[in-house]
């Protein structure tokens, strides 16, 4: 019982990490590189913002690598719990998007979503998507929990 509970927890965390990394990659590829809405460096960023950005960036990169290898490890042990993995993935996606929209853009002021426009509408849509993803994650989480108690 307890070993399956720990496998469930690990399945959840592995995909939370993958979800964080995937959303960070989407942000990097689409908004930084393709659309070029986000800026690499915003001169109004306070110093603590620039320093914390390095830590966050390192966390994002390692999250996706560690998450994928945790999944490979779990599946080799035949312990991967798919319902928990689904929940974790959406919680990771939404969690990162929400964190990025609130902390990175607004508190640390690393960069805005888009320049030369009023960012309010963009912020609302950005964080709205985050909340939808989080709700999907919560829904999967509850159904994983129901399955466990059946």
């Amino acid at each position: 019982m307890s070993s399956s509970a720990s496998a469930n927890k690990r399945s959840l965390w592995a995909t939370v990490l993958v979800g964080i990394g995937v959303m960070a990659a989407v942000d990097e590829i689409i908004f930084h590189q393709l659309l070029q809405w986000h800026h690499f460096f915003d001169f109004s960023t306070p110093t603590f913002g620039i320093i914390s950005d390095g830590l966050l960036h390192a966390g994002e990169l390692l999250a996706v690598v560690i998450g994928v290898f945790m999944l490979l490890d779990l599946s080799q042990r035949q312990l991967l719990a798919i319902p928990w993995a689904k929940a974790g993935f959406f919680l990771g996606l939404g969690g990162f998007q929400f964190f990025d929209g609130l902390i990175n853009h607004k508190v640390l002021r690393l960069h805005q979503i888009r320049y030369g426009v009023d960012p309010l509408l963009y912020d609302v849509i950005w964080n709205g998507i985050a909340i939808v993803l989080l709700l999907v994650g919560i829904w999967f989480y509850r159904s994983a929990k129901r399955l466990e108690h059946r």
Binding site: R10, W13, A14, L17, F40, F41, F43, I50, I51, D53, G54, L55, H57, A58, G59, L61, L62, V65, I66, F69, M70, L72, D73, Q76, R77
Partner: protein
Amino acid sequence: MHLHDHATHGSMLDWLPLALIILLTVAYLAAAYAQRHKTADWNDWRSVFFILGSLLLAIAVAPPLMTWAHHDLVGHMTLHLLIGMLAPLAWVLAAPITLLLRTLPQAGGRRVAALLQSGVVRFISHPISALVLNIGGMYVLYLTPLYAASLHNQALHYGVHLHFLVAGYLFCWAILAEPDVSPHRLSLRFRLGVLFAAIATHSLLGKLMYGYGWPRNTGHSLEEVQAAAQWMYYGGDLAEVLLAVVLLTLWLKKPVAQRHALV
């Protein structure tokens, strides 16, 4: 023809690093070949990794690329990536120290083993010292006038590149702690933590260089410095993620029972 040779290639000294790389590669392959009848064969993949590392280094130190790197900061960063991160990773995977210990006669082997256990080697091969040597060295190079000075001083120029190679090798070895046995027995989590610190400090340096226009007084335009800083940022990501992937691939290859949980 003769004039052109002299003007573009400077002196014979420019070819010295390339000659050394070829010499090391031939020595490695000869030693690996000599292992073929021993009880345990030398794994061919290790030889492939050594050749790969040598090729990456050879591309980096070939005089035409060196000349490009001398004039163009983006070129310099490309060289830095090859010499300081990609080539050393391949060489570490080739297990050159194990091969050396197997090849040397007993007395020589004991001397090398003693050297590996000496205080100096233990100190510089610790992940944290390797991190400071590697990333700290980059802060010193790019955020001080050292980089500008290295453009005009041949010895300093070689020194900087040798430092990239040695520090990069030590760092990759300290993080992987394999296949050459590391003098330290540190947990996977600890080594992942040091790798995390390396990515964070490396990307911070990229941002600082971009934002504040370092290295300065090099005759490079601000646009070029910024392009180089961004290339360093993303190129560093690539190399560090590759190192993380190699580290965890080695972890995943261990039998299930010996694998400690990651998180």
